[in-house]
């Protein structure tokens, strides 16, 4: 997985120049928003459901230790194994060892963001394994050798023409004449290629949408059914999940699944919802011989203790990025790591460190639309602000901004001086504008005037005008 959140600015700039990306983004944007709105309006009191979802997640986080222990016991009772990984390196090592044990050559994978978080694909490939992504979007970007740009629609940045080209290159040795193929045709072709991989894989890796403590089940949702083929056909099923995904009961999971599908894709339910309980039992028609659950911490217990706990409520629906105007402008790759958009701008600094992610908390207008659609009511703007203050306290803000703030603050906290200085500055600026009402260019405001005119101030400040009028009116 590429890691370049430090390069947010140049990456965003490049994304804005990328015509294919812009085309793909503008097509995707309204689709997600409209579908969610229709689904939410059709649901009787979605607001109450959000509140319930938030409470369930808060309760689960509050008692995470108890529920994780219960989960472990239930998974073991069903004949499965639980592995605890403190960080990405440990998780990779556990999974590689399991693959060795299974004498694996081919591994199928259904979509897992935690898999991206720990960089499992690169590790397995370096170990000589053939890794096949089976979610259509993931498959496409695997061919393109790119990371996902969205947590539920990983290839959202790709146009149909680009996908046609990729399939031509990898499935037809570049011999196809067609520049643009129909979507059903492309889907069927991918399905054919993947069918053989499903049937011959030694290990299947999935993520987990929820972990259910009560039953030791993992919940998996897809719209393609690829997770089910991934975990039932190979000899070994490995599920990777963050420890934050645990919920107490099946009932809780069903509430959250209702929130998840509506918030993510505007569906009432994802096409395939599966609860996986351990390996194949006697009499089961299918299923793996072994089931392993790898539970990853990677900074999550640290988050649990501090002022960012609320972020752990996240159920990875992607609604925040679907509604984020910054994400809509630059797409997911600009953020430089696994989790893009608002949730990523909070999560990435917390996982990898503030010093490596200086831009992420700032690349947001704090417009609050993300929080207004979050199914579990995570106050994303507030958390982004908290990250900004941590950055400020740790001296991670660049000196120009710091100086600018100090300069402005010096005056703003000295009202008398402020008004004298402001009155003078306004008069000078007004004179410079020569009655044109605005500036096309102003050297000290180049960040503004690069792309828009700057309205010029009037001759006097409001306070000056007010003072004079008050005198005249004898107020």
């Amino acid at each position: 997985m590429q890691f370049s959140p430090q390069q947010f600015k140049p990456q965003a700039r490049a994304a804005l120049q990328d015509q294919d990306l812009q085309q793909a983004l503008s097509r995707a944007k309204s689709g997600f928003i409209d579908k969610r709105r229709v689904a939410v309006e059709a649901f009787d009191d979605f607001e109450a459901l959000r509140e319930r979802g938030k409470r369930i997640r808060n309760h689960a986080l509050e008692h995470m230790d108890i529920y994780l222990e219960r989960l472990e016991a239930q998974v073991q009772a069903a004949g499965g194994h639980v592995h605890w990984a403190e960080d990405a390196e440990q998780a990779r090592a556990i999974i590689l060892e399991l693959c060795h044990k299974a004498s694996a050559k081919r591994v199928t994978k259904s979509k897992t963001m935690v898999g991206e978080e720990i960089g499992i694909n690169e590790a397995m490939e370096a170990d000589g394994l053939e890794v096949v992504e089976t979610d259509l979007g993931e498959y496409i970007i695997q061919l393109a050798e790119e990371p996902p740009s969205h947590i539920i629609a990983p290839a959202i940045h790709k146009t149909r023409q680009q996908i046609t080209e990729l399939f031509d290159r990898y499935h037809h040795r570049g011999e196809l004449k067609k520049k643009l193929r129909e979507i059903p045709e492309l889907v069927n072709e991918a399905r054919e290629v993947l069918r053989e991989k499903f049937l011959t894989a030694d290990v299947g890796i999935t993520g987990a949408n929820f972990l259910i403590a009560e039953t030791g089940s993992i919940a998996l949702v897809t719209n393609e059914g690829n997770a089910d083929l991934t975990h039932t056909l190979p000899r070994m099923h490995i599920s990777i999940s963050g420890i934050d995904k645990v919920v107490p009961t099946l009932e809780d999971a069903s509430t959250l699944l209702r929130l998840l599908a509506r918030s993510a894709t505007g569906q009432e339910m994802s096409t395939y919802t599966t609860f996986v309980n351990g390996p194949r039992r006697d009499g089961d028609p299918d299923g793996p011989d072994e089931f392993h659950l790898v539970l990853l911490d990677n900074g999550r217990t640290r988050m649990l203790q501090g002022q960012f706990r609320e972020m752990l409520r996240c159920i990875r629906c992607g609604a925040c990025m679907n509604h984020c105007p910054v994400y809509a402008a630059v797409g997911g790759h600009a953020y430089g790591w696994v989790y893009p958009g608002p949730m990523g701008s909070v999560l990435t600094p917390l996982i990898v460190g503030l010093d490596k992610t200086r831009d992420l908390p700032h690349a947001c207008t704090l417009n609050g639309r993300c929080a207004s659609v979050c199914p579990v009511k995570i106050p994303l703007p507030k958390l982004l602000r908290q990250l900004r203050s941590e950055q400020y306290r740790e001296g991670l803000m660049d000196s120009r901004n710091r100086l600018g703030l100090a300069f402005w603050g010096f005056f703003a906290t000295r009202p008398r001086l402020y008004h004298t200085a402001a009155g003078l500055a306004i008069r000078v600026l007004h004179a410079l504008s020569r009655g044109r009402g605005r500036f096309r260019r102003l050297p000290m405001a180049a960040g503004w005037t690069g792309s828009r005119d700057l309205p010029a101030p009037s001759r006097r400040t409001f306070q000056q005008v007010w003072k004079q009028q008050s005198k005249e009116r004898g107020r």
């Binding site: 704090l366 609050g368 400020y392 603050g409 960040g447 005119d453 101030p457 009037s458 409001f462 005008v465």
Partner: protein
């Protein structure tokens, strides 16, 4: 402006003009005063006000933001009503000061008291003064209205300006697509990430253009300066005014960024 009624009989409103209005567009402050006076209030403007502290707060400089919050509280705590012609500055006082001052019980309580008495202008006019049906202004033309994010999501301001505008004679409101999507201003955001901001404001300008409106209105000067500045750069002939200017019938001055009449 020849009000001669003794002010002691009228309830007093303190105006928090906001730094942008003070520096760039006094007319918005004057329009706000006129609206409040028409609604039967006497207006005072505390002289020591500067800025609500948002630039510091949104940059993570909590100490400086808290210093400004205390300064605003000290200047305004004696008033029963504080009115602000901006959703984002009002939102800062109402929703963020108590959070910002949570480390000090006394100051936090003071912040809560001020929050209870602080109003965004259009909300004050519709919900407190109850004068919305008697707006006497006229404005001939098609307008479109941008919902500024902080007002919309922190203070639930959506219907109030529309209710007030519906009583303005000659005015026709045409809603734009994605009227509640951010215009890309975001305070210091537009300076720190100018390219992203440019894309966002360009999308917004396109949505405005599509309505065929001749005038753009909003309740926040920052957003308005951003959108007006972009429209002028792109030669889109739409004028921009703060909603208070139209409601008060004070559009005899050049629109935002427009050439002065000579």
């Amino acid at each position: 402006m020849t009000d001669t009624t003794p002010t002691r009989e009228k309830p007093i409103v303190a105006l928090f003009a906001t730094c942008l209005v003070d520096l760039f567009r006094p007319n918005v402050g004057l329009a706000t005063v006129r609206l409040l006076e028409q609604a039967g209030f006497a207006v005072e403007v505390p002289q020591q006000q500067t800025c609500c502290g948002q630039p510091a707060y949104n940059s993570g400089d909590d100490d400086r933001a808290a210093a400004l919050a205390r300064q605003v509280i000290r200047q305004f705590e004696r008033y029963s009503y504080v009115v602000v012609p901006s959703g984002s500055c009002a939102g800062t006082i109402i929703t963020h000061y108590p959070e910002l001052l949570r480390g000090d019980k006394e100051w936090q309580d003071a912040a809560y008291r001020l929050a209870e008495r602080t109003w965004e202008l259009t909300r004050f006019l519709t919900e407190v003064s109850g004068q919305q049906t008697e707006v006497p202004a006229e404005y001939a033309g098609r307008i479109t209205y941008h919902d500024s994010c902080s007002g919309l999501r922190e203070l639930n301001i959506r219907q109030q300006p529309r209710t007030l505008l519906s009583a303005v004679k000659g005015l026709e409101l045409v809603e734009m697509e994605e009227r509640d999507t951010c215009c890309g201003f975001g305070g210091t955001f537009c300076i720190k990430y100018p390219e992203i901001s440019e894309r966002m404001v360009s999308n917004k300008v396109e949505a405005i253009r599509q309505t065929g409106a001749e005038t753009l209105l909003a309740g926040d000067l920052g957003c308005l300066m951003n959108m007006a500045g972009r429209m002028q750069r792109l030669n889109v002939p739409v004028r921009a005014y703060h909603v208070a200017e139209v409601l008060a019938g004070m559009t005899d001055v050049p629109a935002i960024g427009e050439e002065e009449n000579r």
